[in-house]
């Protein structure tokens, strides 16, 4: 009886999977994504990218929760944050997570960048992954900067004001930059609206698809990792070249192998 029921349930499960696969291709896609080969040796180094992704996701989630209480007007912004910290359920936790995860994020994204730089992961065909990455780190930094100003407290506001003043020295477009950042010639209610629009709408709207592109490119080319993931293959290549230098042997297709110095080995 139990065996028959289990078999029937399994059958339904299979039918449902087949049905979904036929209509959406979800099963083969999941399989492709889950079982893609990745390098085994340096796996802890390659967690820096996913840690960045995790912290950004945490930022999106806690940020959305903060919006349940945050009021982006000069009269109420500070009070609403004060309310979150003292009255709202788990307000201190959610805001604390948003704050600390933002700081950790900047640190971890920097480490991820240094890792990919040192392992030369930006080399062909992964150049665009690096380029997209540079835009990601810039956007993340501006998000952090604008987040401080949203508090509308002395620290955050004056940091924004000074930042805006400094950027007003940008050659040619300085005056446009400052009016855009302050929402006018001087700081006021329009400034907070600008900061809010940047932090909550514009920058996330650019950031999210760019992260998608970054991950798409990652999957397209596969994780490069670092050269120690290929040391045995590199050793075989070196050995073959030495043999060719000594004996001048030929490759499979009959061409004389070039033992010159345009090797990619690391």
């Amino acid at each position: 009886m139990i065996a028959r029921t289990t078999a029937r349930i399994r059958g339904w499960g299979r039918d449902l999977m087949d049905w979904m696969e036929e209509r959406t291709g979800i099963v083969s896609l999941t399989e492709k994504l889950l079982y893609e080969p990745t390098p085994a040796r340096g796996r802890w180094l390659y967690t820096l990218g996913s840690a960045t992704l995790f912290l950004i996701t945490l930022q999106f989630l806690t940020g959305i929760l903060l919006l349940f209480y945050y009021v982006p007007t000069t009269d109420n912004a500070w009070d609403s944050i004060h309310y979150i910290m003292t009255q709202a359920y788990f307000g201190r936790l959610i805001r604390g997570m948003h704050f600390w995860s933002a700081n950790l994020l900047l640190f971890v994204i920097g480490l991820h960048m240094v890792r990919t730089f040192l392992s030369g992961s930006y080399k062909a065909p992964r150049e665009m992954n690096w380029v997209v990455g540079v835009f990601l780190i810039l956007i993340v930094t501006i998000m952090a900067f604008s987040g401080y100003a949203l508090r509308w407290d002395q620290e955050g506001f004056w940091a924004w004001e000074v930042g805006a003043m400094i950027s007003s020295y940008t050659p040619l477009i300085g005056s446009w930059v400052i009016t855009t950042l302050l929402g006018g010639d001087t700081a006021g209610p329009a400034t907070l609206s600008r900061v809010f629009a940047l932090h909550v709408w514009l920058l996330p709207a650019v950031l999210a698809p760019l992260i998608g592109v970054h991950l798409y490119l990652l999957r397209k080319h596969g994780e490069f990792g670092a050269t120690f993931e290929y040391s045995e293959r590199l050793a075989a290549l070196r050995k073959r070249r030495q043999m060719e230098e000594t004996f001048g042997s030929v490759e499979e297709d009959g061409q004389v192998a070039d033992a010159g110095d345009h090797s990619q080995e690391g």
């Binding site: 893609e36 990745t38 040796r41 390659y46 201190r92 995860s101 993931e229």
Partner: protein, 165 residues
Amino acid sequence: MVDIRYGPREPVEEGEVVTEENVFDHYDEPQGFFPGQVVADLTVSTFLLAIVVVLAYAVPAPLTEPMDISTTVYVPRPEWFFFFLDQWLLYFPGAALIAVGDVIIPGLFVILLLAIPWLDKEPAYSPARRPFVTVVGLLVITVIVLNMLLALLRIVNFTGGTPAG
């Protein structure tokens, strides 16, 4: 994919000729993204989540006095990730040079960052085999970190008023 599920292949197959073109085709030791990498990723993420939750309670997110635009005594202070730019300004004093220190040089630096894949023409990947790029990179990181520390020292030792002013 097949290689993973039916047991990993040898780093170099019997009779395979390893060339410059195919040397990076697959890893010596591959693992499936799931569960190998996923477990490592989840471990790190769980650890980070724990740190963030503990810090959220142990060191509450700051909120200073409400913004007061009429203040004349408040001393603005940059966020830690801009300490470097703040310190940098000291080397470019006066209104005329602000743009050079905090706009033009950082702007050129970003362009340089974007161009790295095309500037680094060394065929090797390992940092030890492309010493020029590695040394320049490490120097840049050192300069940034040192300047951050200098700014931090300056801010901590600042006696001309309190940030909460």
